[in-house]
Amino acid sequence: MLQIIADGLIIGSIISLGAIGLSLTMAIVRFSNFGHGEFLGWGGYLALVALTTFTAMNEKWATPIGPFSFSWALLAALVIAAVLTGAMALALDTTLFKRLRKQGSITLVIASFGAALALRNLLLFWQGGVPQYYSQNLQIAIPLLPRSTWGGLRVTPDQLFVFTLTLMSVTALHLFLRHSTLGRSMRATSMNPNLARVAGIDPERVLRATWFIGGLLAAVAGVFAGITVQLRPTMGVEMLLPLFAAVVLGGIGSVWGAVLGGFIVGLAESASVSIVGAEYRAAAAFFVLILILLFRPNGLFGEKD
């Protein structure tokens, strides 16, 4: 029981980070970006490439930090991958989405579907289909509670790290949106784009910030997926349905909604593994999505249209 919750919170961390960016895009750029999952995949692999480059330069950099499976080099690689993925999201907007914005949101959705396919297969072409890992070190899970208490609880240090860093990132984003000028312009544009423009907010600047932050967080999510599970070129498209479910569940445009939605979808996935078996895990997100569309289509924290 406790173990299911703990596992759900770890998957949920990754979904949450991906869902925030998707939710912001849906609220500010105003379309469902089917390419968002690919930012996770590319982020994860860009970090792998950066990490391999670092450790080739100096083998000492591969030494794990304390109880974790990864080294300082991976953390540096994470930063680089996040910035590169943010830049990639920006580049995709400039070359494709920006030109189509006038044609309406559905054209953007089709274009994003095409971009997703191209990006995913480029990744497959570049890195091959075999799953990869950041580190070959095996981690022993620490028993936090014995089996007698609610089935026991074991977590790895890596999982604790992922969970903690997720909460820190979300808090940082929250502070940014609440207090910085750019963050406040983003919220204003999300609520009422025309009024925001009248108030002197540059919409293009807000859009650029949205893409960059979305890419940044997606890359972090991708790296976390690589640390706790593995890297696969298809991880982006596999995450897409959970991401959408989390966004709809939390209400489009709500950061905390996306986080809560991510954790709920993560818990549903991890519960489904023990109820119906691991092979139907991906359908758990669909199940959550159907429920929310049937009973509360605006999401838990969404505003009415």
Partner: protein
């Protein structure tokens, strides 16, 4: 002479696939081109049709459901019914909500259908799929070129029938209401047209055509497996519709043949140019090419080869 037979046989083989895709593209054109419904789960509805017909018409297999050996025609009708029913369920949930939600829900149903195809071994045969799907008319014509050509004629007549039926439908008052709802839902509603009901009808009929196209494909190949219905299929159909021009049934058909030709040509060029060891990776490039084609088409020529005829003055 043997060369000619080889070409003819490859050509008719190629055309049967393109024709099955054209039937599916017509279904998508009704949904997207005329009604503005964004279906990202085309592959799912095609799979439902293909599997339904396969399960009903195949001989019995131990450890799997179905296998009743029914006539192929019954299988094809059943394929349309089950795909239509799947669309009814999805539509009931998503058609009342904002546009994007239909896209997300159809994406979800395609993922779920893919999971079921892969894992519900007792129903679908699991990763190995369904084999020994009967090929109609093969008892008379054997397995060679005559059969391929006969099947091509059969597929083409189904395509022609679908085309004529759809042309009648979209030119009828019913079709005008669809376009009215697509352009301005509030205006159509204020004239007493129930947008939800019309959308649902269009969505279900379109999905039925997708199921039929799937069945036509399944009975030509003789087996179906989950990997035949990956998201790439959805995307190919979308590429066909966008390249051909959505909102125009002839455009959808032309697009199907053009894009399938482009796809096959890109595939064979990559096979020739790229060394044997790298073939698996090269297959990924084929998808990148078609992804880029659709993006370029959207930017450069959003109305496609032959777009919708404007039926009112601007």
């Amino acid at each position: 002479m043997p060369d000619f037979v080889g070409w003819l046989s490859y050509g008719s083989f190629f055309l049967v696939f393109a024709t099955a895709f054209a039937i599916i593209a017509l279904g998508l054109n009704l949904q997207w081109g005329f009604t503005g419904l964004f279906n990202v789960g085309v592959a799912g509805f095609v799979a439902v049709g293909a599997y339904t017909s396969a399960l009903l018409t195949t001989p019995e297999v131990a450890g799997r459901m179905g296998g009743w050996g029914w006539p192929v025609a019954v299988g094809w009708i059943a394929a349309m019914l089950t795909s239509g029913f799947a669309a009814l369920l999805v539509g009931a949930i998503a058609l009342r909500l904002r546009h994007d939600y239909l896209a997300i829900t159809t994406f979800g149903i395609a993922v779920t259908i893919q999971l079921i195809a892969n894992n519900a071994t007792k129903l679908t045969g699991g990763p190995f799929g369904v084999q020994f799907i009967p090929k109609p008319m093969q008892a008379w014509l054997g397995t060679g070129l005559p059969w391929t050509i006969a099947y091509l004629v059969l597929a083409l007549s189904i395509l022609a029938l679908s085309y004529l039926a759809l042309e009648r439908l979209v030119k009828s008052p019913w079709g005008r209401v669809l376009r009215a709802i697509r352009e301005d839902e509030h205006a159509a509603t204020s004239l007493g047209k129930r947008a939800f009901a019309y959308r649902m009808q269009s969505f279900v009929i379109g999905s039925m055509l997708m199921g039929l196209g799937g069945a036509v494909y399944a009975h030509f190949v003789g087996y179906v497996a989950p990997e035949d219905f990956l998201p790439i299929l959805t995307f190919q159909i979308w590429a066909m519709l966008i390249v051909g021009g959505s909102g125009n049934n002839r455009g959808a058909i032309i697009g199907a043949y053009v894009v399938w030709c482009f796809w096959a040509a890109a595939g064979s060029l990559l096979r020739d140019w790229i060394p044997q060891a790298e073939q698996a990776r090269a297959a990924a490039l084929q998808v990148v090419l078609i992804g880029t084609l659709i993006a370029v088409m959207l930017v450069v020529r959003p109305r496609g080869i032959s777009g919708e005829k404007v039926s009112i003055s601007n």
